[in-house]
């Protein structure tokens, strides 16, 4: 393996006025590609810190704390803008405009600047100022109506950050395209990105199909129009499941032989068309068979026979997966101070591998103002004494280190108290 990460965006400066969680996921990708991304934070919200840390979207970004209600604070922000290639935010538009940092204000500071704003519903429009979390935009973007089984009400995605991550990735794409255009034209531009529309891009075929057929698609659950059977089936243990997709008749024959189930030997089931006629019966028979097995062992057996199968991974499972370990999918991010008793925790890296390069090394979450001195010196040449004065007079914010407390899970949640030990994490040895 070569000894350096792939850094195509080295030398690009990004100033991001960002809050959880959409835009930060996109700017983290830019940072992992070598851009210098500086997060601008306002007053810290301790209640949000635990989630901000575990979510991981703020990794690899130094943080300056700026009080935008202070005139000197706003002047610092404008000076930093003048040094940036890209300025982005994910507040509702009136927030930034209120601080004199509307897109027009920003382009007046630096005409070849790329400005990106990311909101739940996008601007302009009657809902431009409506507040939204990711799950709201998944519903408005059309996804929930297609989720679940035919007999169910619409179902939401069990993530909470699905749309955040998706729109963040679209932010990365939009910024890169704007950089490419700027390279050709020398011109800056303003990009307005909608989380809701990010979701809708995933549904282009369903929307076109509905208008072609004159009816909305049915909720298919886990079934597929061609692969049969396809579903999620129980395995041995508490809440353990396997996903199986029989993609062709050869895979079906292999499954029928492997399972030895007499119900699967009928000639009417030899074709996918025949199997699609009796999906409930097949699913029930298959579920009764899979329930005897461990999900990982059964997956291996099925894969050996060429049948598409995989364990339904619970949050803990991926940490112990040899394939992901071999690819370096997780990195141990070291903390300056212990968090919930440990000096490092695993985080997912960007899911790209550039052939001949190593993955970019992730650096830890930075608290509000932790990098005031470093960033202001590097970007503006501001002396340390001046940074100290600006902090003292309230223009810069520096909250110091916040204690990140553990969060109580919802009632009835099973807690694996030995997670740290099982992962072999380094304990806090200071106490």
């Amino acid at each position: 393996m070569p000894r350096r990460p792939y850094r195509p965006l080295r030398g690009i400066r990004v100033l991001s006025f960002e809050i959880a969680f959409s835009l930060p996921s996109g700017t983290r990708t830019l940072a992992e590609l070598g851009a210098e991304v500086v997060r601008v934070a306002g007053p810290a919200r301790p209640a949000g810190t635990y989630i901000a840390v575990i979510d991981g979207v703020f990794l690899s970004k130094p943080c300056v704390g700026i009080n935008l209600r202070n005139e000197e604070g706003r002047a610092i922000a404008r000076d930093l803008v003048a040094q940036a290639d890209i300025v982005c935010h994910n507040f509702t538009p009136n927030v930034m405009a209120g601080f004199g940092l509307s897109p027009e204000d920003l382009l007046a500071i630096k005409p070849d600047l790329i400005v990106l704003q990311l909101t739940g519903y996008g601007t302009p429009g009657p809902w431009a100022a409506y507040p939204a979390y990711g799950p709201s935009t998944e519903a408005a973007g059309g996804l929930n109506s297609l989720m679940g089984n035919e007999s169910d009400e619409p179902v939401r995605i069990g993530s909470g950050v699905f749309a955040d991550q998706l729109s963040g990735r679209f932010a990365t794409l939009a910024i890169l395209a704007a950089l490419e255009r700027r390279q050709r034209t020398g011109k800056g531009e303003v990009i307005d990105l909608s989380m809701t529309e990010s979701i809708t891009t995933l549904l282009g075929g369903a929307i076109a199909g509905a208008h072609l057929n004159g009816r909305a698609p049915e909720r298919p659950g886990n079934r597929d129009a061609c692969f049969a059977p396809q579903g999620v089936y129980p395995c041995r243990g508490d809440d353990q499941w396997i996903a199986i997709s029989v993609e062709d008749d050869a895979q079906w024959a292999a499954l029928a032989q492997l399972s030895g189930l007499e119900d699967f030997t009928g000639p009417e089931l030899k074709t996918a068309e025949g199997r699609r006629r009796e999906p409930d019966d097949i699913d029930a028979t298959l579920a009764a068979w899979t329930t005897q097995f461990d999900k990982d062992a059964l997956t291996s057996t099925l894969q050996t026979k060429g049948i598409a199968a995989g364990p339904v991974r619970r949050p803990e499972d991926s940490h112990f997966d040899q394939h992901l370990a071999a690819r370096g999918a997780f990195q141990r991010v070291e903390h300056e101070a212990p968090i919930i008793g440990y000096m490092a925790h695993p985080h997912l890296a960007n899911p790209w591998i550039a052939d001949g390069f190593e993955r970019a090394k992730l650096s830890d979450f930075r608290f509000t103002g932790a990098d005031n001195r470093r960033v202001l010196k590097r970007w503006l040449g501001t002396p340390v004494a001046e940074v100290r004065r600006l902090a003292k007079e309230g223009a810069l914010l520096d909250v110091g280190e916040l204690l990140v407390g553990d969060r109580n899970p919802p009632p009835g949640t099973k807690v694996d108290a030995d997670a740290g030990e099982r992962l072999g994490l380094a304990r806090d040895t200071r106490s």
Binding site: Y6, P8, S25, D55, G122, P126, P131, P135, S136, A140, G141, G142, L146, P154, V155, I157, G158, S159, V161, R169, T172, L173, R181, Q183, L193, E197, L202, L203, G205, A206, I207, A208, A210, G221, A225, C226, Q230, G231, V232, Y233, W241, A243, E247, V312, R313, P315, H319, L324, A326, R327, A329, I339, L348, P351, A354, G356, P409, T413, D416, A419
Partner: protein, 390 residues
Amino acid sequence: MKVLEIAGGPAAGFGGMLLAALGYDVVRIEPPDGGSFQAEPTVTIDEATEAYLLRGKRRASLELRTRAGAAAFVGLARNADVVIEDLGHGGLEGVGASYRRLRRANRDLVVASTSPFGLSGPRANWQASELIVQAMGGIVSSTGFEGEPGLRVYGAAAHFIAGLHLATAALAGVMGVRLGNERGAHVEVSMEEAWMQHWARHIQQWAYSGHGMAREERGAGRQGFPHTVMTADGWLYVLALNADWEPFAVFLGLEEFAARPWNEARTQVDRWHEIEPRYRASLASKPRYEWFGEAAKMGYTFAPIHDAFAVVDSPQAQARGAFETLAVGEREVPVPRLPFASPAPRLASVAAPGEHTDDVLREAGVSERAIASLRKRGITGRSEPTGVRR
């Protein structure tokens, strides 16, 4: 920026469509006899989705699985900036276009590949489908209802997201070359890992705190009330994270359930059957956009649950011009534009299979005589519509 998309599945298809929507010249290379170069489909694509993915691209027919076809492709790559593909483990080699060979032809070429589990590691050549990727990448285990099988996200979402990564990797790579930071590179994206990003919080939370997200309980759900409710004219998503129960209950018209003990989450869950009739009746008393607007004024993040028609007709989508019209057969239907304004032209049409074969070869410097020879040998030619499954 010139992009070659090797016809495979919907991941490369989506990535290529995004790049075309950004205004780049995307040429999809398809086999002359239709279908794709992918040995096994990993997700089913219908006619409408295929049209959505093909829009804005030029289409060239070239049989890469012949010596002459592969050589012609390498010639195209010599003049291109990017190749994107999703043929899977060993797929590029299988069509005679290994990265090593492409790199020899064009040192600054960016090749972006995606496959279900990545091109390296013990599971690199495992069988997969959209469902398998989603299940192994997470989210399925926390979507749906407790005690029932977890549910996948609709459609080809994992493939499309991998395609979004391909488009991003392509642009990042090209910028790296233009800025003088890097030469060409082969970037590979694991669909599984890309999907895991959308659930990363819960994977990481287990490492920090020993627990992650679980599926909903049917009934009152995780927040003390169901999120999905029917209003006077359609489904509404009710979300008010961290809201104080009392004013929220009053807003919902549940005054009698606002005070103690009803403001305790456990009581709401345990005695949900007492609240539910009033909750549903109250929500059903007004249209969903009315609830949505009033909730927004209170800072609550409700949202209409749009179906495939309402999402197009919504006032916000209309105001932003979020959709454009695409010709599919004899009909014109709406499809989403990029989720941000792009100076690129709209992508109103789908090219015919092989329509641009000769143009593309000519642009790469292939002589008329050589083009004629390739056609005569069946290495190029107009193909039938690609493997559409209905």
